[in-house]
Symmetry: C2
Subunit: 168 residues, 2 copies
């Protein structure tokens, strides 16, 4: 298996990031972004000034991307939030896992004390298994908070992982 | 007791809204906004294009304000999020309660199916009692997610209320 290189995104990565984002949101079962989200919205959702954007490349090809940011400003800014996307054609090769490891290291280095996912879709078992493997716990259930393209309204979970010794 | 008038904010309300916002965040025990938040940040936090801003006036004086918005875009946009602030000098007069009633009616009228509060500080008993009285349930606990100015890291709650018949 080729090594996965993870680095901060550069201006030249925009097209590759969009092609991943666009492909991932088509299914309408993992992210809130509508399948017909225009490319111009990428600035707001994935390349905003308050977030850091990373890419995962295999053999020079960008096949994954993730963002890392404070989940809230000010007195809530010690809790990080991250989102990860892997191009459908590259799934199952450990790229999501590699990005999660990388993001937790980055978050710790940046001084975050915890990481929170705000809306993990309850039917997304791949993601749930992955986050639980990384030590994230389901700390909340949001009834019907996600409109799944195939299943209609389904629950979503809030997941949380402390990055410091005991307690967050 | 004088009647409380609640209406959408107008351009001329900006100064009154800021004076409430500025006074409320000084305590650093209810909202994430830092006590030294500059007035220019109000555009982003309270007057952004994707939110509706309301004011509560008593005898013509604006003493409270709240915002109402989708908690997420797209496939999560059927869940509303709201934040409320009452000027410290006007607290205890039912203004928060009146704004909450108003916001639930507005949310229902706008087609939202539920309302979610993302970060209710666990030590803010006044707010907790109020939201529970309005039918909000604690659906999640975020360990140490808020840095309380006096108490340090304290837990925060996610609260949720369905606005539709059975289930959200």
């Amino acid at each position: 298996m080729l090594p996965i290189e993870i680095r901060e995104a550069r201006e030249g990565d925009r097209e590759a990031i969009w092609s991943i984002f666009e492909a991932v949101i088509q299914t309408g079962d993992t992210y809130v972004f509508l399948p017909d989200t225009p490319a111009s919205d990428l600035d707001q959702y994935w390349l905003a000034p308050h977030m850091r954007t990373y890419v995962a490349a295999v053999d020079g090809d960008v096949v994954g991307t993730y963002i890392l940011k404070p989940n809230h400003p000010g007195l809530g800014a010690h809790v990080a939030n991250a989102s990860y996307m892997v191009h459908p054609a590259a799934q199952g090769r450990g790229i999501g896992s590699a990005m999660c490891t990388h993001s937790l290291e980055e978050a710790l280095q940046m001084g975050f004390r915890a990481m929170q996912f705000n809306l993990v879709i309850s039917t997304n078992e791949t993601a749930l298994r992955l986050w639980e493997r990384f030590g994230f716990a389901i700390v909340g259930t949001l009834p019907g908070a996600f409109f799944h393209q195939d299943l209609g309204y389904v629950d979503a979970f809030v997941m949380y992982k402390s990055l410091v010794g005991t307690g967050a």
